[in-house]
Amino acid sequence: MLRVSDLSVSHGHLMALRNLDFHVSEGELVTFIGSNGAGKSTLLNTLSGLVSPQAGSIRFEDREIVGMTPEQICGLGIIQVPEGRKLFARMTVLENLEMGAYLSAARRQFSRQLEVVFDKFPRLKDRKNQIAGTMSGGEQQMLAIARAMVALPKLLMLDEPSLGLSPLMAEEIYEVIQDLNGDGMTILLVSQEVHVALSMADRGYVLENGVISREGEGKSLLEDPAIRASYLGI
């Protein structure tokens, strides 16, 4: 579904990502793990079209998307839930969802998608007229995911979805993600919570200083001694 080859991105003189090669197949849950500053958010923003790469190719469903605007990429169904949620904090829950379905294709299916989303997150339905910024962190993260879902994602990309949440809340969010994947959604998850991410994922990539240093099935990476040493502290 998504095939990235030889992708390099630089921030000024600094090389943020170097010669990345990876792919995500339909229905998979793929995770990128790595420490802070490894380039994970840059990767997602490049896929979303917010950052333009210096070299390489990104093919989505056999179309080259390098050079497309974020608007076009969003229209193709590559939807990102950004780090820190980035909700429209002074708008209501419902308005946030409407903005998720901003483009006309998504807008046409909005009422149907809204039901799906409210089904999944009944709490959002109860609070649909509440101002987003006044909700708890967990609810806000749910809203962020819901906002992405009404955008009709084919590939859902989540950037640190558990950041700043209580362990209980984080667990609930990961359950939702797994659940979505179970329903057939293709997911690209970026996380510092290496253990949870790898145990959920079909496959994983380790990003270190902008380079993919290791890749493999989630379970096998979990047992990789090097990863256990540097990320899991075992």
């Binding site: 917010l50 980035k86 708008m91 409407e98 903005m99 901003y102 998504a106």
Partner: protein
């Protein structure tokens, strides 16, 4: 001063206050949302008044209807201005200062263009209802002033409803609150900012026409109007439509009150005095800044 005169002064104040409010709203949005301080805002208001005046003189078209003729030009003009003048400097390190310098230049150009094409003499609207008043009990509502105030209230209501209820209006607010997320969900920031700027310019034009029902105007008038715009916006909270509207009414009310209870020459002292007091207590204005 009798009670009737006091109330009459308050009515006068509120009517002019509504117009200040409308003039402030567009300025406030552009400032709050794009960090652009559009010094030319009042110049666009004067331009609107002149265009309406020209239509009135040439075709006998009432300025209220004239506005609808002018509206597309102002809206489109605002969009073009944003696209080719403001947008290129949006990445400047200090957008506030660069935008002020740039739009100050625009204001001078507009002022001089009006002087060149028209002439620098002052103009007033003379319509069928000029010099007529509606008497409600002991109170007099001069019709032109009333029309101006109603236009202002209508303009503010339309802007408010647009921002709160329409898809594009919500997208505007979304992109001001969280530009990056807005882009991720397909909102084209450049296009949406162009629309916002066009709307602000159009609202300025409407405000200028409303002002034209109350005051005479000449190419230089925008300097005076700009002072009131700044006042209203700072008091109302930058980017806060409702706050700006209320601040306009409040300043009008203060004007009216001091007109009623103090010798007329105290009006400005009182108005600005109270404003300073308010800002001392609430430095960010009466209402929170919000977009």
């Amino acid at each position: 001063m009798t009670g009737i005169l006091v109330l009459q002064s308050l009515i006068s104040g509120l009517m002019i206050g509504a117009i200040y409010g409308l003039l402030g709203v567009g300025f406030s949005l552009v400032w709050g949302a794009m960090k652009v301080i559009n010094i030319a805002h009042a110049a666009f208001a004067v331009l609107g008044a002149y265009l309406a005046y020209a239509l009135l003189k040439m075709f006998g078209l009432d300025p209220v209807l004239g506005f609808f003729v002018i509206l597309p030009f102002l809206f489109f003009g605002g969009m073009v201005l944003y696209r080719y003048l403001i947008f290129p400097v949006m990445r400047a390190r200090d957008i506030v200062v660069s935008s002020m310098v740039l739009t100050f230049g625009c204001a001078i150009i507009i002022e001089n263009l009006i002087s060149l094409i028209g002439s620098p003499d002052p103009r007033v609207f003379t319509t069928r209802y000029t010099g007529k008043a509606l008497f409600l009990g002991p109170f007099a509502f001069q019709l032109p002033q009333t029309v101006g105030a109603l236009m202002a209230l209508g303009g503010m209501a339309v802007l408010y409803i647009f921002l709160k209820k329409t898809h594009t209006g919500k997208a505007l607010r979304a992109s001001w609150q969280q530009p990056e997320a807005a882009r991720l969900y397909g909102i084209n920031l450049k296009r949406i900012s162009m629309i916002a700027f066009g709307l602000a310019v159009a609202s300025a034009g409407l405000g200028g026409i409303a002002m034209g029902f109350v005051y005479s105007f000449d190419p230089h008038t925008h300097n005076l109007w700009l002072i009131y715009i700044f006042l209203v916006v700072i008091l109302g909270g930058v980017g806060n439509v409702l706050g700006t509207a209320l601040a306009g009414l409040l300043i009008g009310l203060l004007n009216g009150l001091s007109l009623a209870f103090f010798p007329y020459q105290w009006v400005n002292v009182i108005t600005f005095g109270v404003l300073i007091l308010i800002l001392l207590v609430r430095p960010s204005g009466l209402f929170a800044s919000e977009v």
